[in-house]
Symmetry: C2
Subunit: 348 residues, 2 copies
């Protein structure tokens, strides 16, 4: 069923039918009625592909993330989806498994499919040529969660450093001086050797932590900053390694909820009690953080709103408007529960 069919059925020309159906231009009431009736009778539905072809707009936006199964992106996705739907946009979602090559392909293909705009959580802060191309060619682009210093595209995320600093100071206030940071960030086996890291959201956490440490006069120990804690086994190994240090940490900051989960699992196997043996603060206030034993002190992030904001900024860009700002950071907050305690006597 095409416009031509409807036009024939209604006894008018294609253009008239098209106008009546699209609700634009000038059409007599009588003609419109006939066309609409014919369309109804024939069960006509417009071919959005054809429509997109000459309007140049697909009413679709592309979203590229590393891991949709991760609750963080699931929630952000929900925010993006809700905001996009309100504006009449659909979403093509691509999962890259945090693989840059997959991200590059995805961005290209999405553009080939003529999405009107792109929201990307870049897998790497180094391999960014593809995103730079997108931005420079004038395609609306919003970076999600992660920032790329050298790329002046709009980025929407969380202002996590102040909260990281507050979390660190909360730890210090309980007497902790050996404070570790554990992240899942891939670093190709490298040890910590300075900022920035490959993913800005992790860099920001560390910046806040180091700041908190410096302010309280606590020396920074590179051996307490650990990466590549992905999966239960590797995380277990990282924790075991940390605990075997001559001066083991008495408190640990966990970079995200997945790391937190695996660390808690490792603690259970190792017979470590929180906060008796070691204090813990995790980034990201997942729903289950309140039912762990003990309830976990966390840095809460407005993830849903990050998604909504990212979509809304993209919509502004797509309308040809200027962005609200090139870097938008929503506030994070420390939610104090019971996983921080005083330094254990034996460890002092």
């Amino acid at each position: 069923m095409t416009v031509a069919d409807v036009a024939r059925e209604a006894g008018v020309a294609k253009a008239t039918a098209s106008r009546a159906l699209g609700g634009y231009g000038a059409v007599s009431d009588e003609a419109r009625d006939r066309v609409l009736a014919a369309a109804e009778a024939l069960g006509y539905r417009p071919n959005e592909l054809a429509r997109s072809m000459n309007t140049g707009k697909s009413k679709t936006i592309g979203v590229v993330v590393g891991d949709i199964e991760n609750g963080y992106f699931g929630l952000a996705m929900r925010g993006i989806s809700d905001a996009a739907k309100r504006a009449g946009y659909d979403i093509i979602l691509v999962n890259t498994s945090e693989d840059v090559e997959a991200e590059i392909d995805a961005v290209r293909l999405l553009l080939d499919k003529r999405v009107d705009g792109l929201i990307v959580a870049p897998a790497s802060a180094y391999r960014t040529e593809h995103l730079r191309e997108v931005h420079q060619s004038g395609h609306p682009l919003v970076l999600l969660d992660r920032r790329i210093e050298s790329l002046p595209a709009v980025s929407v995320g969380v202002d996590i450093a102040p909260a990281a600093r507050a979390a660190t100071r909360a730890l210090v206030a309980e007497g902790h001086r050996r404070i570790a940071f554990v992240s899942a960030l891939g670093t190709d086996g490298e040890r910590y050797s300075g900022l920035p890291l490959g993913v800005s959201s992790v860099t920001d956490r560390l910046v806040g932590i180091l700041q908190g440490l410096e302010e309280t006069g606590i020396p920074i120990s590179p051996e307490l900053i650990r990466f590549e804690a992905h999966g239960a086994e590797k995380t277990h190994a990282v924790i075991a390694d940390l605990l075997a240090l001559s001066e083991p940490p008495t408190a640990i900051l966990l970079s995200d909820s997945l790391v937190a989960l695996n660390v808690l699992l490792a603690f259970r196997e190792l017979g470590i009690k929180v906060p008796r043996d070691v204090s813990v603060v995790a980034f990201d206030d997942v729903d289950w953080a309140a039912i762990t034993d003990p309830p976990m002190t966390v840095v809460s992030q407005p993830i849903y709103d990050v998604g909504v904001t990212a979509a809304e900024e993209l919509l502004r860009l797509m309308r040809g408007m200027a962005p609200d700002a090139t870097t938008l950071r929503l506030p994070a907050a420390l939610v104090e529960r019971d996983s921080i305690g005083p330094v254990a006597v034996s460890a002092q």
Copy 2:
């Protein structure tokens, strides 16, 4: 940059350029080289929209779910995404908030955008005309997680009843006779009044439970079967209500991980200890189930595989092949941890 530009640059006709670019038909090596070089030089990228228009294939599938933020669908989505990507398909994801009207609109719009196939987790077992239309009009359709009795479309989900039965019997084996079931299913305030329910995946759980009860000679108490436990407050109310019964349950089966979370929260507020005061089994083995206090006994579901299977069945359908079966159920299993204990003395 269009095929025409490339053709001109290479000094050949559009058709030849198109053949060389598309890698089909017969093209001389020399012509191909010239075309490819020209395309490279011009930075040519095909317009997938135009391509879709006359092939009739968009290499895109539509996925409609109720709640992407729910870990269950997030994981299924990952499975779908991985399988689809392997076959070269992209995914348009629509979230309906479990609203049937939104689902109807989504299905229509997706078809208008000419997706090659549809995977839907139907919000309702009653309002299904739109899905029937899709199926009868010959569009490849796979139902995810939930079945619709009167619709002969392929459905992929979990064979949950046997596991539900096993869970129930495990409870009975510990002496429980007052066994409740709590679900978030919306029933418009109605109390339980027989099967089937509005969502087949919940029906299946209950079927298994009732079967387990009957086999062990335990009478079925409708007042122990509760719905509409969505959100912390409502769930708290449901639990309080259950516990206030003259013969309160000594064990509770939780329909999904979100319900489980809220129930655990309610228990904590009410000072209820698991399994001392009440035993618990939850459906869905979420990652955090192993770190609750105590670790939770759950019915584990191969959710990722459900997603993969759904996508693969859809791919079969899209290739014009017959489905493997009209109803595919992957096996679930009872994972015994420590949330089941003997009936409390005071409750006997």
